[in-house]
């Protein structure tokens, strides 16, 4: 039995910490009684024991009715209703988010002035109103009780007045000395206002040194673009026009910039509705499966350091195959040799690329060094992929480009006499923790740090100023195609805090009084239009989008590429290669304190609350690592590995995953931070073993460090191979190649266990189909496993976060999960994914067995869950063949509240917060259906038009894999979808008649390779 205080696994779960920080907002809540159920379930302390004895006595005396828990609430009624406010009707504001290095035009839902849900802006053609898990989880970043809430000076809490005075002094000094000895580090987001501010500063203070603090923005892609196209270039893709996509270590639908639009474009070219449809083909070369890689038609796993030579060999074969080398990079390809075992694939890719000139593209991921990016640009140019609006690849001038160095340059500058350092919203001490950045910053005489958390950089800076959230401040963004987005504040900052735009104005500006809105307006409205008689500003705010100005195109030049390729070398030494990667949940560590993202299972590993060294089974055997039997039940007790590289050592649990390149260790970055109660204790920081010149690929000596560590996964590993001893044939995910589909369009029926006509009901089915009947289809061909649906559902439906311990216990609460199975040969498996939520069976097994009728069928075909009536027998969950029901084993919602009282602000008021002891599950977002029904009854015929209801998962899905609507209307999108040949129901032979059905997965392998 573990004592809760000693347990390091407990995330976001300590009342002590809660009480330690004097939060202004929380003090408002102090009239509410302290909770009593914060402890671990498996231990009793003396006081608790007394409580139990008391409860036991009470039971015998007064019976059990005294256990109903109702909290008292105070309400603040409006004496006068604010104008335009209709009670119960949320406001939606168009704004934009800079989320995981991607600009997301957004519509944010706000109830009574508190933002509760982020959705994409459907006006934006590139994202089509879809989002990413990062953007969905942004809401919890606002209501994060660990965010910085006051200034700090030399490690002590400071008063704002002193902070203002210090900033003013710094400003005067800066203005006086022309920026000498001063370094400014700014955030890397493409903000026209930020760019304008920096450019103006650079003009006014010529000696000021400016750096961009975001290591992803100023990373390999940037360097590659600079080498190929010169300064200030940016790249975006239009994948819907691509027929052949070669992804070189590029998780373009997951963690790479502009992932939402890329996923969307990719899916558009992949959606096969009839056997005659065309379909794109995806080749992926990467060290281990990424979410994008899992959708590939051909996947090659090799160490990241060898991806460059694949590109060289590929380019060579493309050029020798009749495509002219338009840029003239042939010299760089001399002596290219493909890695062992890749020859056949490279030949096939080359001929496929050559056969699809104009609609073929090579994409390179951030992990690859700059020369690979540059070379790929040259190849794309030669493949006629680069060009104007109609082309697959667009290279253009980046209007927000600023002349600034990166983190490595900052390090050099700090070593040469910087006396004042101003960091506006970056965290170099963590991002570059392998290079002694923290020590360098600590040595600076006068340093200011604006940050959302009191993070690693704040610790070493003289002054720390709290930064406000991007939904709390005015700002602007330019999305990848140049579309502008004005960010407008949805809520006043929860704590006194500054946006980086305000901070920059304060600490470097000309001393004028200016609020953030006028600073942003000054960028967008020319001086004479400040009055804006045409109402342009209002239109922009309402639409959330400013149409892209025609950007000037950039072209690819050979010189830089050849030069970059000359320096191409891979790190040497060590026995093993380390491939660092952006985490699919917390990115580079910036979302580490977000519980939704921490608890989100990684698509491939299904790991939550931790990072781990991902190794192949062969590498694990070589190192003598424990896996296998312990890995059966999702409670993986694994060994640690000790990685030595870059003069540092890191110990991290090792997790065995199929299809990782041998002798290679894949390391998700971003963990091991102690900036908040969620981040605390989650994972290990691997940044110390990353070096400045090769941050993503390293060589290391690796040892088995023994030990035991429990990793919390939500799904064990397994394959679905028919005939497999462990599974037998389970046609859960049905798939075929395009070729097979064309010859045999109803291939999905082959896997039916029972013919449709032979399945009969015992009794008359309760659900006569009249009126509107809701149903859903999920297209397995276009699901890229991005997890956006999972977080969107969590945000929409007030789903509790349970913490690592509870995930280990198998009690995660997600209403929709993405099942991932490996198929085929364990050495080179394929991956299939299947989002599974409640199927809303017409003949629901759960409804029949509930003794109190707490789960019943609605007249519209929903399988409704009546929380009030549920007594928690869990029989429904046992009888659910899809295992989608989630049970409140404890008062999870209450625990969430005790851990972070701000969480109540994020709640969706239209969805009941569930009590302990009740079952919950996907409701098809019944609150959205009801809202649409009310609308239809008030303003229409009472029939909800098709497309009016968009459920949360569907809304978030960047690939439109999820379709929802009225299955009783033959013309609705969902009926069309269900009418397709590939439509099938999961476990249909049980006669559950699921309302959610799947469209089988179609792959398009190269016939040459089959």
């Amino acid at each position: 039995m573990s004592n809760s205080k000693n347990s390091p696994k407990r995330q976001w779960r300590s009342l002590d910490q809660l009480n330690a920080a004097p939060d202004a907002i929380e003090q408002l809540h102090h009239e509410f009684p302290e909770g009593t159920t914060e402890r671990e379930p498996t231990g009793i302390e003396r006081r608790q024991f007394m409580q139990i004895m008391g409860a036991s006595a009470a039971m015998t005396g007064v019976g059990l009715t005294g256990c109903l828990r109702k909290s008292s609430e105070n309400i603040l009624p409006f004496a006068e209703r604010p104008e335009d406010r209709i009670p119960g009707v949320p406001e939606r504001y168009a704004t934009g988010l800079w989320s995981a290095c991607t600009v997301v035009p957004a519509l944010v839902t706000s109830y009574d002035g508190r933002p509760t849900k982020v959705d994409g802006n459907p006006r934006d053609a590139r994202t089509g109103g879809s989002t990413s898990p990062f953007a969905q989880a942004e809401i919890l970043n606002i209501y994060d009780r660990s965010r910085s809430n006051q200034p700090w000076h030399d490690g002590n809490a400071a008063r704002w007045a002193d902070a203002y005075e210090a900033m003013e002094q710094a400003r005067t000094a800066l203005r006086a000395n022309g920026g000498a000895g001063t370094a400014l580090v700014v955030d890397g987001r493409p903000s026209p206002t930020l760019a304008r501010q920096v450019r103006e500063l650079q003009q006014a203070l010529p000696q000021l040194q400016v750096f961009v603090g975001d290591p992803i923005v100023r990373g390999n892609r940037f360097a590659g673009l600079r080498a190929a196209c010169g300064d200030g270039a940016t790249i975006s893709y239009n994948l819907s026009r691509a027929k052949v996509i070669v992804s070189l270590d590029c998780d373009f639908a997951g963690t790479e910039p502009d992932a939402i639009a890329n996923a969307r474009g990719f899916a558009a070219g992949r959606r096969v509705q009839t056997p005659t449809d065309e379909m794109n083909r995806l080749y992926v070369v990467e060290p281990s499966f990424s979410a994008t890689g899992s959708t590939a038609d051909h996947h090659l796993h090799i160490p990241a350091s060898e991806v460059g030579s694949v590109l060289k060999a590929l380019a060579q074969q493309v050029f020798s195959g009749g495509v002219s080398d338009q840029v003239g990079v042939g010299a760089a390809l001399a002596g290219a040799s493909a890695p062992a075992g890749s020859g056949e694939l490279i030949a096939a890719m080359a001929s496929d690329l050559a056969a699809n000139v104009g609609s073929a593209v090579v994409m390179v991921g951030e992990r690859q060094p700059a020369w690979v990016h540059a070379l790929a640009l040259a190849l794309n140019q030669s493949l006629n992929a680069v060009g104007g609006a109609g082309a697959v690849v667009q290279l253009r001038e980046e209007p927000t480009y600023i002349e600034a160095g990166g983190l490595a340059d900052l390090q050099d500058a700090l070593a040469s006499g910087i006396t004042t350092l101003i960091i506006a919203g970056a965290n170099p001490a963590y991002d570059a923790s392998g290079t002694g950045m923290a020590e360098a910053i600590a040595a600076v005489e006068n340093s200011f740090h604006l940050g959302y958390y009191r993070d690693e950089t704040a610790e070493v800076s003289k002054w720390h100023i709290p930064q406000c959230h991007q939904l709390e401040a005015w700002g602007d963004l330019l999305s990848a195609d140049g579309t502008g987005v004005i960010q407008q504040p949805l809520i006043a900052p929860l704590y006194i805090s500054k946006s980086d735009i305000e901070f920059l104005h304060q600490i470097t500006g000309d001393g004028s009084e200016a609020d953030a809105m006028s600073i942003v307006q000054a960028t967008w409205l020319s001086a004479d239009r400040q009055h804006d008689p045409a109402g342009t500003w209002r239109t922009w705010l309402r639409d959330g989008l400013i149409p892209a100005a025609r950007p000037s195109a950039k072209s690819v030049q050979a010189a830089g590429i050849l030069e970059a390729a000359n320096f191409a070398s891979n790190p040497a030494g060590g026995d093993y290669e380390l491939n660092f990667q952006l985490d699919t949940k917390i990115f580079d560590g910036r979302y580490v304190n977000n519980p939704w993202l921490q608890e989100l299972p990684d698509f491939v590993t299904k790991l939550t609350w931790d990072n781990a060294a991902l190794v192949s089974p062969a590498t694990a055997d070589e190192l003598g690592l424990r896996y296998g039997s312990g890995a059966k039940y999702g409670r993986e007790k694994v060994n640690f590995v000790r990685l030595s590289a870059n003069g540092a050592e890191v110990e991290i649990p090792a997790f065995v995953v199929p299809a990782v390149a041998d002798k290679t260790i894949v390391l998700p970055i971003g963990y091991g931070r102690s900036i908040g109660i969620v981040a605390e204790g989650a994972g290990r920081n691997v940044n110390p073993i990353r070096s400045a010149n090769s941050p993503w690929i390293a060589r290391a000596t690796v040892q088995n460090a023994g030990g035991r560590y429990k990793l919390a996964t939500t799904q064990d590993h397994g394959s679905l191979v028919p005939g497999d001893v462990e599974y037998y044939a389970r046609p859960l995910v049905r798939e075929a190649t395009l070729e097979e589909f064309r010859h045999h369009p109803d291939f999905v029926r082959d896997d039916d266990l029972m013919q449709a006509g032979k399945i009969n009901s015992l009794w008359t089915e309760p659900n006569a189909r009249h009126g509107q009947q809701w149903g859903m289809t999920i297209d397995l061909s276009t699901c890229v496993g991005c997890n956006a649906c999972v977080v969107a559902c969590q945000a929409e439906n007030n789903i509790s976060v349970v913490g690592k311990q509870r995930v280990l216990e198998g009690r995660e609460m997600h209403w929709i999960r993405i099942d991932r199975y490996f198929t085929g040969d364990p050495e080179s498996p394929e991956v299939v994914s299947q989002p599974v939520g409640c199927m809303h069976c017409e003949n629901a097994p759960c409804e029949q067995v509930c003794p109190v009728a707490a789960t019943v069928h609605s007249p519209e075909g929903l399988n409704d869950m009546v929380y009030n009536r549920c007594i928690g027998t869990r029989y429904c969950a046992n009888n659910c063949p899809y295992k989608v029901r989630r049970y409140n084993f404890f008062a999870f919602a209450k625990e969430d509240y005790q851990d972070n009282r701000l969480i109540t602000l994020a709640r969706n008021p239209n969805v009941t917060v569930r009590h302990r002891g009740v079952m919950e599950k996907c409701s098809y977002c019944v609150q959205r259906i009801s809202a649409a029904k009310l609308e239809a009854k008030k303003h229409g015929t009472g029939i909800i038009p098709d497309g009016q209801i968009v459920v949360a998962c569907q809304q978030a899905c960047p690939t439109d894999a999820i379709v929802f609507g009225d299955v009783n209307n033959p013309n609705s999108a969902v009926s069309q979808s269900k009418g397709r040949d590939t439509n099938y129901g999961l476990l249909e032979w049980l006669n559950t008649k699921p309302r959610t059905t799947y469209l089988a997965k179609i792959r398009n392998p190269n016939p040459e390779l089959v």
Binding site: P41, C67, A729, Y821, I871
Partner: protein, 476 residues
């Protein structure tokens, strides 16, 4: 007394039946022997067992209080495994509760006279086992304070339970079974309560026994009515013996989980229940008869008969195991066959093989008469059967749940301290109740036992082996 028979197990029923009651089989002697445990000072062993029982009962109280305070999460349940030890314990205890009524009712209807020595204690065991069983479905629900919604109580919402749910059938089946068992038991107790009323010296005891004896005077008319009532109740109980575990098995069989969804469950569960109930009878009777010197009333022959039933039902259960596997294979449903292969060779193989060894292999020793008549072997074997039958329910409940249709949801169940403590605590309740029963109520049905002695069968032909008049002293 010419011959003192100490072992009546060797008498061939064809050649001549051995007496069921040995030693002093006079009416007075029997009354004396049965009443002594209630009148003499309690033996130390009983006090020790009672003390242990009280401690375990306290543990049950703490476990249940913590459960209600904290939630069902204190158990090892997880997402696929929604039912764990609570349901296992429920079925285990209900199963044990089968022997009593079977002995009292079915053996009564079949005129099995040997039942009279053990039926009282077995019925008491039944009632206490049903009490233990009823705890679990009550507290395993997430919101205990509204568990009464399971009952069809009229309410202002006009909200009825779902009559299609086997859990609701369970509520009816078990509560009817409990009620009828108590009535049956009490009816049988009435003449003996009157005996105790007449024997007791304390005023309070006299009052209480008198109150519950309902004015019994042993008149012919009383006996007439009594026997009629007893027969009717036996008739009522007989179908209940079969129905209650049939319906408990529906909890599983009506669902569609592979491993649960099988038509063999009702007979299989009933056989298993009788099996475990008789094993528990042995476990209890062997110490009780020696502790209270009742070996001449609860004789080796009684134990041997019990062992024979265990052998029969154990073999039935073994047959059911085999048949489940056969059908899983023969049915050709991959999900179903996986569920059974997984039982044998999956992560819970240890539980499966424990079950098979205890339930199928152990009873086979009762093919040998030596084993059937040796109290030590009988006792050890009965313990094994008890363990095996608990594991049977564990195997059915947990191994089926932990890996069902979608491999993505598979998990493993780890019991926690609270799982164990609640189970042990239920034994506390059982022991306390049983010790109280032994101390305050006649553990053997005095009146019924007398009916199977020669004295209850007056006749005129001589008993040649007993000399001239053919009768013992005190004869008839």
């Amino acid at each position: 007394m010419a011959v003192t028979i100490t072992d009546n197990s060797n008498f061939d029923p064809v050649d001549g039946r051995a007496p069921l009651i040995l030693g002093d089989d006079s009416f007075a002697g029997i009354t004396q022997a049965v009443a002594r445990p209630m009148e003499d000072p309690a033996p130390t062993a009983l006090k020790v067992v009672f003390g242990i029982g009280l401690m375990l009962l306290g543990l049950l109280g703490v476990s249940l209080a913590y459960l209600i305070y904290k939630g069902t999460g204190i158990w090892g349940l997880n997402n696929p495994v929604g039912w764990g030890w609570a349901i296992v314990n429920f079925v285990f205890w209900v199963g044990i509760g089968h022997a009593g009524t079977l002995i009292s009712a079915i053996l009564f209807l079949f005129r099995q006279k040997w039942r009279t020595s053990i039926n009282r204690a077995a019925e008491a065991m039944t009632i206490f086992a049903v009490m233990c069983a009823l705890i679990f479905p009550g507290v395993h629900v997430g919101r205990v304070w509204v568990a009464y919604w399971l009952l069809p109580l009229p309410n202002q919402m006009a909200m009825w339970p779902n009559f299609r749910s086997p859990l609701l059938w369970d509520v009816f089946a078990v509560s009817i079974y409990g009620t009828v068992s108590i009535l049956f038991w009490y009816t049988g107790l009435i003449p003996d309560l009157a005996t105790m009323r007449d024997r007791s010296k304390g005023a309070l005891a006299k009052k209480l026994y008198g109150l519950f004896a309902l004015g019994w005077r042993g008149s012919n008319r009383h006996w007439q009515n009594y026997e009629r009532a007893y027969l009717i109740l036996a008739g009522l109980s007989t179908p209940l013996v079969l129905s209650v575990h049939t319906i408990v098995s529906f909890d599983f069989a009506v669902s569609q989980l592979p491993g649960w969804h099988t038509t063999i469950f009702p007979p299989y569960f009933v056989a298993g229940a009788i099996f475990s109930g008789f094993a528990m009878v042995l476990t209890l009777m062997i110490p009780v008869r020696s502790l209270f010197n009742l070996q001449h009333i609860i004789t080796t022959r009684h134990l041997e008969n019990t062992a024979k039933i265990i052998l029969l039902t154990g073999s039935l259960v073994g047959y059911a195991y085999a048949m489940e596997f056969f059908i899983a294979w023969y049915g050709g449903n991959a999900y179903e066959s996986y569920a059974f292969v997984n039982r044998m060779f999956g992560p819970y193989a240890w539980a499966y093989w424990t079950m098979v060894s205890c339930n199928v292999i152990t009873p086979q020793i009762f093919w040998f008469k030596k084993a059937r008549t040796n109290v030590y072997i009988l006792f050890v074997a009965s313990i094994f059967v008890n363990i095996g039958m608990w594991f049977e329910r564990f195997v059915i409940t947990v191994t089926s749940l932990h890996r069902d249709f979608l491999p993505s949801s598979w998990d493993y169940f780890h019991p926690t301290f609270w799982d164990v403590s609640t189970f042990l605590g239920s034994f506390g309740l059982f022991l306390v109740m049983f010790c109280l029963f032994l101390r305050f109520l006649p553990a053997v049905a005095i009146a019924e036992v007398k009916a199977v002695t020669p004295a209850a069968d007056p006749h005129h032909h001589p008993h040649a082996e007993n000399g001239d008049d053919g009768h013992d002293e005190g004869g008839h």
